[in-house]
Symmetry: C2
Subunit: 420 residues, 2 copies
């Protein structure tokens, strides 16, 4: 099936917001085996929207729009779509009841504007929106499918997954499942080189790499008659890839390094503490991003100045003098020191030169030491990080924080569950 993504909103044309919806839908449709060759953006303008619908349906069977479903006068997607297919708008009693209920619950009077949201094109299906007041629309007409979704991502994303994907699967007669393998310590092109021979002839399941700031994720997607059958197709491919990449795999379907770490620590009854210099709190910030992290994290220190490295986590003043703050002994002492200070099982540390200034021939921008200290296992990594993108400083800090999280995860796995 060929599909197009059509984003509606003047705020997109003005560059006020990023089009995260197009990325989300593109990724989901690719995962569902639906081909997308065009994405478009038009403003809240019925004439241009109608033109775009004509053009899109001339090329594709399925068009998914986002935006323009709200209650205000400039939200015209539904009216335009109904007119495009020559349908009237009719009031959907069920949605009206649900809207009235919802407004009663939040104690607001329902205005006429909002009543407009219960209108749907004749013969269309309304898609439930538990996170907002604008329902989505699914319309079929002579083999063409038009899906209208709301603009706010937190309304659109669950609606796509809960309401649209199952209908698409019904329309195509297939179920899609996917599983993600998380790699750390290898670049995207090296992953592709190693995967290519393995993947020759793999059409279903497919394997696609996604690179994200120092990490690579491999998404395995299978299409089958049932969820169970899709899962059974995924399992051997996942096993083959995990065997091939070995230690480079840090988790399967775990979301992120920080989540893998927090879940591992929670399951083992272990705690981690952080002593950060160049990352300035990014490591602790990423750990505490995870709900429930208070069960594994009590204490972090951001020892930016040498004086504080000595005062808070007991780094030797002599070593600071002799080796400098960006050095292996200092990273190790920071990790040990914060572990002792906090009573955690694992201490991790970062010290480096994030730039843009402060580099020298011996210690260039991007040089970072990352340390870990735990019972029976201590290590310091020396990294030469290349900052990428418009903010190289932030990129270096982010990659350094990923290495620290990865070292902590390694230490946690070596320690295993706490004995009581």
């Amino acid at each position: 099936m060929k599909a197009e993504i059509l984003s509606i909103g003047t705020e997109l044309l003005l560059g006020d917001i990023l089009n995260t919806n197009a990325k989300f839908l593109a990724q989901e449709l690719a995962g569902a085996g639906v081909e997308v060759y065009h994405q478009s953006v038009v403003g809240d303008n019925p004439g241009r929207l109608r033109e775009q619908l004509e053009r899109s349906f001339a090329r594709s069977q399925l068009v998914i729009t986002t935006g323009g479903l709200g209650p205000t006068y400039d939200d015209l997607s539904k009216e335009t779509a109904a007119a495009f297919f020559g349908r009237k708008l009719v009031e959907d009693k069920e949605i009206l009841c649900w809207l009235e209920e919802r407004f009663r619950a939040i104690g607001c009077p329902m205005t006429d504007n909002n009543r407009k949201q219960a209108l749907i094109p004749e013969g269309a299906q309304a898609l439930a929106n538990p996170n907002g007041t604008a329902p989505g629309i699914w319309m079929e007409d002579g083999g063409r499918i038009l899906v209208l979704l709301p603009g706010p991502p937190r309304e659109m994303e669950p609606m796509f997954q809960n309401e649209v994907l199952p209908r698409l699967q019904q329309a195509t007669g297939k179920v899609i499942c996917s599983s993600t393998i998380h790699l750390f310590g290898i670049g995207e092109s090296a992953v592709e080189d190693r995967l290519r021979p393995m993947m020759v002839g793999y059409q279903n399941p497919t394997v696609a790499p996604y690179a994200k700031q120092g990490e690579v994720q491999l998404r395995i997607t299978a299409m089958a008659e049932s969820r169970e059958a899709a899962r059974q197709m995924i399992a051997p491919v996942r096993q083959e890839i995990c065997d091939s990449f070995g230690q480079l795999v840090y988790g399967v379907d775990v979301g992120s390094l920080q989540n893998a770490l927090v879940q591992t620590l929670l399951s083992y009854g272990r705690k981690v503490a952080t002593a950060e210099s160049c990352t300035g709190g990014m490591v602790s910030q990423r750990i505490t991003q995870i709900p429930g992290s208070s069960g594994v994290f009590d204490c972090g220190v951001c020892t930016y100045a040498n004086r504080i490295k000595h005062q808070l986590v007991g780094v030797s003043g002599e070593d600071l003098e002799r080796y400098g703050a960006v050095s292996e002994p200092v990273a190790l002492q920071m990790a040990r020191g914060v572990r002792a200070l906090s009573g955690a099982d694992i201490g991790i540390s970062t010290t480096g030169i994030a730039g843009p200034d402060g580099g020298s021939p011996e210690k260039p921008v991007g040089l970072v030491y990352v340390g870990v200290s735990s019972e029976g296992y201590e290590e310091v990594l020396r990294l030469n990080l290349q900052g990428r993108g418009t903010d190289a400083r932030d990129d270096i800090r982010y990659r350094a924080s990923s290495h620290a999280l990865h070292l902590a995860l390694k230490a946690a796995r070596r320690l295993g569950p706490k004995e009581n």
Copy 2:
């Protein structure tokens, strides 16, 4: 002038990357007074690219593309654009020399692939790319203007600003200048309500609000014959807005709260220290994002557990027991404690419930206390933050960290320069 933005890249169609280029160009073109009614995305496919160029030039005078300029076989933007205008590709000697120079400098041999990058359509102008190897292209043909830019944002963005904007200004005979007023502590709709009467009849300069996670920026843009004239048109409007919003303005053209804070502290010779609970290091992370922040920040602590709040920054165990960790006295003692510990002029603190769990009727998710302590000025704010978007926990933490940065800025301005 009417323009279209055309993004080229299969990775966009697959949803592998966000289309930040379209947002950047849309915002820049809006600021330059160029109207954009359509944005499109096509893959690295000459046929569909050519079709899209035909469609776009039927509606618009200017088309700006991003992507497909690299040295590899699937980068076909230049070939397709040349064919579209019936031009040959010719080798540009200047670019070839520059490329050879560049490869010599990085010590890599220049492959034939890379030599391809010196080809430009006959009669076109090459646009310098100091951040990469693919030059951009500016082509005019019978009143139509086609601009080809590289895909990586760190190459594309400076090229647009340094090479494309001046040519656009030459083509339109106008110079564009803008200035941004940063507001904190007021919502976007309240800003619009207050601005509307003031803005009636303002066409040049224009004033546009941009909302970003708890902040509002007002961008004033003027178009004139010269930079000086544009600046003179901006000045009185900026003054009027600053007078109207008073204390809600935290800076003009300062980029971000953390940058405003770091620059103020640097100019005053003052230092700040952080004691974070619910923000988990986000405040220190934002401060240390700014190059040069080591001049104003020595020490941060992330006191996630009660025990550590007592141990590191001396919060009274009795008060922790009586009022709980999320309370005014604890926030104040954390700010005082970290100021004393670090010797900084200003201590700031956060303690709250970021959720999704841990809330209660008395202390719901989103309740955050933010504290500040400095010579002669101490304050604790009680916030009820509503988390928005797909990650409400992260949003609450971000907004709390913004309030802490804003309080620190207020304290710094009250203190003024350090007397030696």
